[in-house]
Homo-oligomer: 329 residues x 2
C-alpha cells in the first residue's frame, strides 16, 4: 500500500487529506471522502460519518500512523470500496509532504558517502564511525513535498541534494534490539537531505552537528510505501537527475550499518515514535558533491527510487539576508 | 505568573493538569477545575464548562502556550477567582515536567563553560564558536520533572548534571532579528542537561552532535516563570547541590552570546515554535566536570535559580545493557 497527503480546498481554506496512491493509474483516493461516503450509504448520518472518517484518517501522517495496524486495515478497506467520485487524478493534485515527522534523524549508513564527504570537507574520519551507527537530528519545520519549491538560503553558494531512503516509524519503542526495531518500521519514502556544502565544513567543526547547513529544506515524498512492498533494500534502484540530466544511478548497496542496527541504536535511552523519519544517509555517489555539480536557482532536482516513485522539486531564487550574528572579538 | 503541570488521578488513569503555581503559599491551582467551577457557577452545564476549560487549559504545555496571550489572561482570571477547593498543596503534588517541547535545542552561551569542556574533553576549540552562536538539537522523549528519578545509562561512569536556564518559546517565528526573537519568549525554567561525559568526547568526534551522551535525560521544571517576572538574566543567582552539599553558586553572567541572538540565529531558515525549549547552555562552573564530582546511583541533585525555583531529581540504579552495536572491521 502507498499512502500520501494532498492539499484540497475547503470553506475554511486549504486542508490536508490522507490518500491512498495508485501510481500505475496516476490517481489517489481521498480516504476521508471514501470512508464518509461508504458509511453514509450504510445509513450513517453525514455528521457521524464525517466524525468517524476524520478520526480514522487524520490529516497528519504522524497522527494517522499512531493508530497502529488499524490504519492500513481501514485504508485498504476504504480504498477497495471507493467509487470513482472519491478519486483525484495526479494531474489535479497539489501534493503535501508525505510525512510530518516530530523529529528527523539522519544516519550515515553508506561507507562510500561517509568517506567521500570527509574527503571533500577535509575533516578527519573518526574511528567512532566504525564503532556505532552515527546519526544527527534535525528540526522538522522545513519539509517540502513533491513538486514544491525549496528555498535557496542566502548563506550558501554550494547548495546540494542528497539521495536517501527515509524509514518511517510505525510504533513506539525504546532501547530496542535490531530485531525489535525492524518490527517498528511502517514504510519507506524518498528523502532529499538538502545541504549547504560550503557551510557544512565550518559548522561541523563545532561538533554540535549539522544545523544551518542542513535544516533549511528536507524533501519527503512523493508518498510512503509500506514496508511489506519492499523485500530488500538491495533490490532498490536509485537515481538522481538535475533538469532531466542523470547525475547518478545505482543500487542501494554498500551498507556499513543495517537499518535495523541504526534504528535500534537510535532507540537506546531514547525512543522511536510513530511518524518519526530516519534517513539512512546518502547512498554512494548520491550527491552533487560527488559529481562536482551543485544546485542553482531555477534547477529542477528529481530523485527516483524503484517502488518508491519520483520526488521532484525546484530551487527558488537565492534568498537575501535579514540578519546574521556579528563575530565576537 | 508561574505555570506548571502536575499528575492527578482519574477514572481513565493518571491525567496531566496545567496549574498556576504559588511558591510562597506552597500550593497550585488546578486551572481546569477552577475554570469549570467558575463557569458552572455562572450557569453553564457541567459538560459545556468542562469542554471549554479543557480547550483553554490543555494538559500539554506546548498546546497551552500555542493559544497565545489568551493563555496567561485566562489563567490569571481563573487563578484569581479560584476557591480553595481547586488548590493542591505542594505536599500532595506529583509534578510533571513543566514543559513538553516538540524539540530541544541547547546553546553554548557562556564562555567559561565553552572553554572548560573543550579542555576537559581534549577537543580543539573551533573559532566558529566566536562566529555564530552554536547549538545542538535533542530528541525530547526523555524529559523528567521535579522529584523524578532520572536513569543512569549503562554506558557511562561519568554521569554529570548541567545547570542551565531554559527559554520557552511562546509564539512562532522564522528567520527573525534578535529584537523579534525576544518578543517570542514566553518564559524561563530550570533546565538540567544531564551528560555522559566519558561518552561525550568520543561521540562528538563524529561531528554529528551529541546523542547518547545527552538525550537519556533532561530535567525541566519545577515550573515555567513568565518572562515579565525576570528583569534581566544578570539578576539570577544560580546554584547546584548534590545530596545537599553545594557544588557551585554564582550569578548568570559571562554571556558570549545574548539569548535573543541565539534565538534569532536558531530561527534562521528554521522556526521557533510555541513550546520549544532552548537551553542557554551551562553556566560557568555549572557542571560536575568543572568540580571533579560526577553523579552516582542514589544521588540527589538540586538546581536552584532565584525566581525560577528548585529542580530536584534522584539518580536511578545503573541500568544494564540490552544490546550494543558490534564494531565494524
Amino acid at each position: 500500500m502507498k499512502l500520501g497527503r494532498i492539499q484540497r480546498d475547503s470553506v475554511d481554506g486549504p486542508v490536508a487529506r490522507l490518500v491512498s496512491v495508485h501510481p500505475d493509474e496516476e490517481r489517489v483516493v481521498d480516504l476521508v471522502s471514501a470512508e464518509r461516503l461508504r458509511l453514509e450509504r450504510q445509513g450513517a448520518t453525514r455528521e457521524a460519518a464525517d466524525r468517524y472518517a476524520h478520526a480514522l484518517f487524520p490529516a497528519s501522517f504522524t497522527q494517522a500512523v499512531s493508530l497502529g495496524p488499524r490504519l492500513t486495515e481501514a485504508a485498504a478497506e476504504a480504498d477497495d470500496r471507493a467509487g470513482s467520485e472519491t478519486s483525484v487524478s495526479f494531474a489535479e493534485i497539489s501534493w503535501l509532504p508525505a510525512a510530518d515527522p516530530p523529529i528527523i534523524r539522519d544516519a550515515i549508513s553508506f561507507k562510500k558517502h561517509l568517506e567521500a564527504y570527509h574527503d571533500a570537507i577535509g575533516h578527519d574520519l573518526s574511528s567512532m564511525h566504525y564503532e556505532v551507527p552515527a546519526y544527527w537530528k534535525g528540526s522538522p519545520t522545513q519539509i517540502f513535498g513533491h513538486d514544491a519549491e525549496i528555498p535557496h538560503p542566502h548563506y550558501t553558494d554550494a547548495l546540494d541534494y542528497e539521495l536517501e531512503i527515509g524509514f518511517i516509524v510505525g510504533s513506539r519503542g525504546a532501547t530496542l534490539t535490531p530485531e525489535e526495531a525492524k518490527s517498528r518500521v511502517f514504510g519507506l519514502t524518498i528523502f532529499n537531505d538538502y545541504s549547504a556544502r560550503d557551510f557544512q565544513g565550518p559548522e561541523m567543526l563545532m561538533r554540535m552537528g549539522p544545523a544551518k547547513c542542513k535544516e533549511f529544506a528536507y524533501g519527503i515524498g512523493p508518498w510512503v510505501t509500506t514496508i511489506d512492498e519492499v523485500d530488500s533494500l538491495e533490490q532498490l534502484e536509485m537515481s538522481a537527475r538535475i533538469n532531466g540530466e542523470e547525475m547518478s544511478r545505482g543500487m542501494c548497496e554498500g551498507l556499513l550499518w543495517q537499518p535495523e542496527e541504526t534504528l535500534a541504536y537510535i532507540s537506546l535511552n531514547d525512543e522511536l515514535r510513530p511518524g518519526d523519519l530516519i534517513g539512512l544517509g546518502t547512498v554512494g555517489d548520491g550527491s552533487g558533491m560527488e559529481q562536482g555539480r551543485y544546485l542553482k536557482p531555477g534547477d529542477t532536482i528529481e530523485l527516483e527510487v524503484s517502488h518508491l516513485g519520483v520526488l521532484r522539486q525546484r530551487v527558488s531564487d537565492k534568498q537575501t539576508a535579514r540578519w546574521m550574528p556579528a563575530a565576537r572579538g
